[in-house]
């Protein structure tokens, strides 16, 4: 049983992606940060970016969202402390809140593949790969973008693309209070949502980020690095 194992080191990954954990940040504020970075990305001033965030309770509407998919009356939402925001991402209605890992890849797809479907499938693949490390079997459901485990949605995806530069991204429930999803019909689908905790995984946000980082690197042939301290000004 003494096999020689050659350590598999990623070698020809010359494209750089800077990772930044914004931590707890308002949704609108995060959109502002993204738009700013996307604008600089389009001008070629910065490399690809991977932003991570966690939002206070907010319900967001995609470009194709139907208002009827917000089930609660505006007063009820306000009383529950849930903000409602319209966005320019694809997809319908979704919820973000504490305990959810939100990822915003700002990638210039011209440097990878000019293919929005491949991009979305790639994000799904990275999440599925990361989940496998925690013993969970993520799945795709035909016609329902996102990552599903046992018929329930664990991660939602909604993307905006302008000149092949991506904004928005994915939201993965780690120990999200799933009861908040009852205010909406997530993505217009009447299917259950789930979280890592509900699935019995004790994986932490940090562990999940590490796993995703690794998978995203492989999926998109990137080398994800911390931004050099001197380069980042506010």
């Amino acid at each position: 049983m003494l096999f020689m194992v050659k350590p598999s080191m990623p070698e020809q990954q010359d494209r750089i992606c800077e990772i930044q954990d914004l931590g707890r940040i308002g949704f609108t504020e995060a959109v502002r940060v993204q738009n700013d970075l996307a604008a600089r990305r389009k001008q070629g001033l910065i490399p690809d970016q991977l932003l991570l965030a966690e939002h206070p309770h907010v319900v967001t509407l995609g470009r194709n969202a139907r208002r009827e998919n917000i089930l609660a009356a505006p007063e009820v939402m306000a009383r529950a402390g849930i903000e409602v925001v319209e966005t320019d991402r694809g997809g319908d209605v979704t919820y973000h809140g504490p305990g959810q890992l939100v990822g915003y890849p700002i990638f210039d797809l011209r440097e990878w593949k000019r293919d929005v479907t491949a991009y979305v499938r790639g994000i799904e693949e990275a999440i599925i790969g990361a989940l496998s490390g925690f013993g969970l079997k993520g799945e795709r459901v035909e016609g329902c973008t996102g990552v599903w485990v046992g018929g329930a949605k664990l991660a939602a995806i909604g993307v905006h693309i302008s000149r092949w530069v991506t904004t928005h991204g994915f939201a993965l429930n780690i120990d999200t209070d799933l009861s908040y999803f009852r205010y909406i019909v997530p993505c217009g689908l009447t299917k259950p949502v789930t979280s890592l905790r509900q699935l019995g995984s004790m994986a932490s946000r940090g562990e999940m980020i590490a796993a995703l980082r690794d998978r995203i690197e492989r999926q998109f042939q990137l080398r994800i690095v911390e931004p050099a301290a001197n380069k980042r000004s506010a």
Partner: protein
């Protein structure tokens, strides 16, 4: 005039939904200025203008799905005359051939909405009043409609459309919103006056579905009632097989086992352990133990204790792999495989912090978890957080086996039956000893053979040199 076309946003993409015009007809636009937005599969994309000038015509309305390369509007450059045209459905009708779509779908300026379903069909022979059998006529009853979008379902429900009667023109024969709309339009329209040939195939068939198909279509797609009628009741020959659905637990186990085999590089190493000392100790204290605690004393808690010691010594065996990272677990949580109802399932409840318990505590935990597993009283947390597993196949008489790793763990220890056997002992004498085989299956991605064997030797040393006088 410059044509604005629906761009292809990816290799497999054959159509896109125009979600929003960012300019109105008559507006000035600069080249590369965002002009409209499209949506494909949860991705919204802003499409820049191909030229500078004035948005002269909008040919595709917001909310319409069209094939790639369809002209969605036109830009008038310089002094060209501008005649703002409102969007019409006509311009939106997708030229639908699913397969040869990439060939050329471009200039379908104003196709008849109904021209859709005849991709490459030759003009029907003059005598054919009903659909030509060879042409891809709509199949009246399809069993599998393929994936349907919620929008299509809703539309069908609202308009009371039997989707079996709608011909899908989307990718892979999928039924699109336009197909349903076309069907509704055809249904409500009075039969068109003798129209140009290409329109023929779908309209009549769609309007009175059963008749033409039954009359002329070959039985391939259609289902004549006679053939589908239930067969006569008394089957003479008894069936050779019996089909039963898997239970949920069985499906989970199946998935988990295959997943594990696919994930880890399974290697099993087997070590022989002299359990005589423990057998004697067990023999001695069995009765008192039963009396005092109310349950028997088995070999298993000793093995758990030894494994916990070995895990402390070799933490990599208590780890998991995540991509190119190794996650070391500081807690030693040992799962114990429990067979349910004589082979009808398997569950692995976990003894948390097993290294902090003595043999009594371990035995109590094992008895408690096994009882609750068999009476289905386990709580979710009882089966979570395991960092290593032990399976006691010896209790069913097995000498050794090669267990499957319980993901995301990296090793599992199998305990074979404890048997009295003649053994050559010191001084070349033969003695009767109680011997068991310990089989460690480990993930060779992370654990080398030498490490696995050191782990086993450590467990063996603890068991053979058992020193705890008190249990």
């Amino acid at each position: 005039m410059t044509d604005i076309v629906m761009p292809q946003m990816g290799e497999s993409i054959v159509e896109g939904t125009l979600t929003k015009w960012l300019k109105k007809a008559g507006d000035k636009v600069e080249r590369d200025e965002p002009l409209f937005e499209i949506s494909t599969d949860k991705v919204d994309s802003e499409i820049p203008s191909p030229a500078s000038g004035v948005l002269a015509e909008i040919l595709v309305a917001e909310g319409t799905t069209v094939a790639i390369n369809t002209v969605v509007g036109r830009i008038a450059e310089g002094g060209e005359a501008v005649a703002a045209t409102p969007a019409t459905q006509a311009g939106a009708a997708p030229p639908p051939p699913p397969a040869p779509v990439r060939a050329q779908v471009g200039p379908v300026a104003a196709p008849l909405p109904m021209a859709a379903p005849a991709p490459a069909a030759p003009p029907p022979p003059p005598e054919a009043a009903a659909p030509a059998p060879a042409a891809p006529a709509p199949t009246p009853a399809r069993e599998d409609l393929g994936p349907l979008s919620p929008l299509v379902r809703r539309l069908a429900r609202e308009h009371n459309v039997d989707l079996n009667l709608v011909r899908g023109t989307g990718a892979g024969g999928r039924i699109t919103k336009q197909d349903v709309e076309a069907y509704i339009a055809a249904r409500s329209a009075t039969p068109a006056p003798p129209s140009p040939p290409p329109a023929a195939p779908v309209a009549p068939a769609a309007q009175q579905p059963p008749a033409p198909a039954a009359a002329t279509a070959p039985p391939a797609g259609a289902r004549p009632t006679a053939e589908t009628a239930p067969p006569p009741v008394a089957p003479a020959v008894p069936p050779r097989t019996r089909v039963e659905p898997m239970s949920t637990m069985r499906q989970k186990i199946a998935e988990h086992m295959i997943f594990s085999k696919r994930t880890s590089a399974h290697v099993t190493t087997v070590h022989k352990v002299d359990m005589t000392k423990i057998a004697k100790l067990r023999e001695k204290s069995k009765a008192a133990f039963q009396e005092r605690y109310g349950f028997g004393l088995t070999f298993l808690p000793f093995v758990v204790r030894a494994a916990a010691e070995a895990l402390r010594a070799y933490p990599v065996v208590n780890a998991s792999v995540e991509g190119t990272s190794v996650i070391y677990h500081n807690d030693i949580n040992i799962g114990i495989a429990v067979a349910l109802d004589g082979g009808n399932g398997l569950i692995v409840p976990v003894i948390k912090n097993a290294d902090e318990k003595n043999v009594v505590g371990l035995q109590r935990a094992i008895v408690d978890l096994a009882n609750r597993a068999r009476s289905k009283q386990l709580k979710p947390e009882d089966v979570q957080g395991g960092t290593f597993s032990i399976t006691n196949f010896g209790s069913f008489g097995s000498i050794f086996a090669t267990p499957v790793i319980n993901q995301p763990q990296v090793a599992i220890l199998g305990v074979g039956a404890v048997e009295k056997v003649p053994v050559v002992v010191e001084g070349d004498a033969i003695a009767i000893r109680s011997v068991a085989h310990l089989a460690l299956t480990f993930d060779h991605r992370l654990i080398d053979g030498a490490m696995a064997d050191q782990f086993c030797q450590k467990a063996k040393a603890v068991l053979e040199g058992w020193s705890e006088a008190v249990l």
